[in-house]
Amino acid sequence: MSEQPVPPAAPPSQPPDGPLDGPALAAWLTQRIAELLEVDPSTIDPGSPFDTYGLASSDAVFLTGDLSDLVGMPLSATLAWDHPTIDELASFIAAVLRGDAELPVERIDWDLDADFYDLR
């Protein structure tokens, strides 16, 4: 547990100061997800699937919409299912921005009544 005081929460969707690389995107996602879950950002494990926190499918899609605006690319509603942790999603978007990866064309249609983030 950190003994440092918790910094005040950034307003929603505030863009990072520096370049939109993997760490900056992960920090942005961590902040936004902590707000949605109403928990301290330091309690969020960026390697843990979104579903282990109980992030709703609605929040996952709304968050992807904000992320689309942040990076200036249309992102599919299922992106958080295809890359189901903060680290994976941030790395993927950073790779797309660098030109090292492409947005998916074909997507798997996971049943919404399933435990849909826990794919592995």
Partner: protein, 201 residues
Amino acid sequence: MGVWVIDLDVAVDDGLLGPAERVRAENLHEPHRRRWVASAVATRTVLADLLGIEPAALSVDRTCHRCGGPHGRARLADDHAGALRWSMSRSAGLGLMAVSERQRLGVDIERVRAVPAAAAVARRYLAPSEAAVVEQAPEAVRAEILLRLWTRKEAFLKAAGLGLAHGLGWFSTAGASGAAGWWRSELRVAEGFLATLVVAP
């Protein structure tokens, strides 16, 4: 057919969980873990009561029909395979469950909350007629209207057995009733929550 509203913030006896549910619960973070356990126990209790058996005797299969993993839609197995269909949704401290003997159904519950840039989200992901409803509303109620439309859409997709792979814009729920043959009802489950039940033809 029946609908249950479940308080997920009450203590439950997790001794009712099966082995697979126990493993899954161990991997979850609080406070989601105890709420997920409460919903799993409620699911077992409701289904077992309808079948006239003990909750611990219920055999639940979560095998994913695509890949064989343990994360699929929960189904009854063994002696009671196919006996009941159900849908479960959770938001904050409330769960909503609908059960039917024959009909495919879907439920979704959403706590009313702030949604940043609700109109932009609606334009990006919802059908044009739905986005228009959100955009034409006063700023103060846009998030609530978006969430209301979302409960309709997610409940419909669940009843249809579909996910999000084809997006959310290919069908509209902006009309006063559901599509022909589909039954849609908005449920007033609790103050500060929106919920919809959809039953397939």
